[in-house]
């Protein structure tokens, strides 16, 4: 049972860490701006904000699903 609560805490910390990382990232890229072109983007089209969005979505989804899964198999 303790593991379930630890998983919940890990999930919360994980989501918090992700949001903090994205906040720091946006503060930096808004401070030092560069005009991107297809020559500077990853594969010519992947923008940093897509990466940040995917990071937030995947972290939140995985945090929630893993916590629910751990609760489900333990209780």
């Amino acid at each position: 049972m303790a593991l379930v609560w630890i998983t919940t805490v890990i999930g919360i910390i994980s989501i918090g860490f992700c949001l903090m990382s994205v906040k720091i990232l946006y503060r930096y890229i808004n401070r030092y701006r560069f005009d991107e072109s297809k020559y500077t983007l990853l594969f010519g089209f992947v923008r940093l904000r897509y990466i940040a969005a995917a990071y937030i979505v995947i972290s939140i989804l995985f945090g929630v699903i893993s916590t629910v899964f751990m609760f489900d198999i333990t209780l």
């Binding site: 999930g11 701006r33 500077t40 990466i51 940040a52 972290s59």
Partner: protein, 203 residues
Amino acid sequence: MSETLNTDRHFKGQLENETVECFCRKHWIVLIRDILGFLIFITVLILLIANFVRVYTFFSQDSSLITLLAFSIVCLFTLYIHHFFLRLIKYYLEIVVITNYRIVDVDKSLYLRDSKDAIDLSKIQDIKESKHGIMKKMLNFGELIITLSSTSTTKTLSFIPNPGYYFRKINELKREYIQKGLSNKDVPTHKSIKKNEPISGLS
């Protein structure tokens, strides 16, 4: 007055008269291992979801060892997600900036690294473009090896995409810099520098 100056405008440490001519990131080949790893991770996740009933039955057994295994897997997956995305973000933050004065190699990550290595254009004795190997030729990336005039040391910028362009660009800027010297053309004016003027990557 401060609106016309470029101090810290595009990168930390930018000088007031310094204008960014172009910048580049490393070639995507540096991420190939991480991307392949993430694809394997996604494949494992899809397989787990596709066999959810079996996975659920297995982990629902009343055994503390199996619960510990599930906990370990959750922890590892969480760590891996963060590792992968922080690596991607690091890729975007590591840039090579070529200005009218110098070449700045920004080595930055979100939390742990923040260093800059600058080479003054006037200190460059020789620049060499290197693109050896099938992969480098096919994917058009390589090294720029810069020899400094004051010492015999070299600075290598590796995994530079389209190195021919940057080779020509640095040579042009070096020639201009030497011709101009430190004439009055370098002093910023209200006409020459506007606030929030975009800097193009290669265009």
